[in-house]
């Protein structure tokens, strides 16, 4: 029986595209002042990979290029729109060394420098007081 490599290529592109995109979006949005520059680069790279996927007759390569391309297009949206919104709501930590995030901390009471997701589940809902204590820097 022949081995079909298209699926493994799609799986690796899907997993690595999401993983690397997930980590990069958080890091880039945290450090960069003008998020539209990296978002524009991700947009161009995504469309570039889409074009590349149409120019190869190799199916595993075409699938991987297309999938990584679409994850980059999604990353552009995440960098420019969705991740800044999370920072404003306190769902992602603000970076006080970034002037854009300093402004968010000043304008949005829910914003925090604490990474509230960096903990193990406790099996029950937190009370409002506990969440306030977490945001104050306690664990």
């Amino acid at each position: 029986m022949d081995i079909n490599w298209v699926g493994l290529s799609a799986a690796l592109a899907t997993f690595l595209g999401i993983w690397i995109g997930h980590v990069s979006v958080r890091k880039i949005e945290r450090e960069v002042v003008n998020v539209w520059i990296p978002a524009g680069i991700a947009l161009l790279a995504g469309f570039g990979l889409w074009l590349a996927s149409t120019l190869t007759s190799n199916l595993p390569l075409s699938a991987a290029s297309g999938i990584v391309g679409v994850t980059l297009l999604w990353d552009a949206l995440e960098i420019a729109i969705r991740q800044p919104a999370r920072v404003k709501h306190g769902h992602a930590p603000a970076n006080p060394n970034n002037p854009r995030h300093r402004q968010i901390l000043a304008d949005y009471p829910e914003a925090t420098t604490v990474d509230l997701l960096d903990r193990d589940p406790i099996g029950r809902a937190y009370s409002a007081e506990e969440i306030a204590a977490l945001k104050a820097g306690g664990r």
Partner: protein
């Protein structure tokens, strides 16, 4: 021109989008401790994709497998999101088989 990659990536985008849905709903009703089963299912999908004769079936199995493995690593963070009140919290979750053993393992989070 070869449009295989474009069609596959659009299908994959849908699969990833559904990943958001099942991670949120699945964690709410079953809890994050099901992660080893989800990861195993993802690995089985990828192994199955190697033996699919049809390229579309192989690619779909691979994309679903990759998405399931990613979702398995997201369940722990999703559990914390629910506990923090960012999503509805359900205190009566359905434990997986071998839950006592799974609790001793560190749940993956990337």
């Amino acid at each position: 021109m070869n449009f295989f990659g474009i069609w596959i990536c659009l299908v994959t985008l849908f699969v990833i989008g559904m990943g958001f849905v099942w991670v949120i709903r699945g964690e709410r009703f079953f809890g994050y401790l099901w992660w080893p089963y989800v990861m195993t299912l993802g690995i089985l999908c990828i192994v199955g994709s190697l033996f699919a004769a049809n390229n579309w079936v192989s690619a779909l199995c691979g994309a679903v497998g990759g998405s399931l493995i990613w979702g398995a690593t997201e369940l722990k963070e999703q559990a914390v999101r629910g506990e923090l009140g960012w999503y509805p919290f359900n205190g009566r979750k359905i434990d997986p088989p071998l839950v006592k053993i799974i609790k001793k393992w560190k749940a993956p989070s990337l």
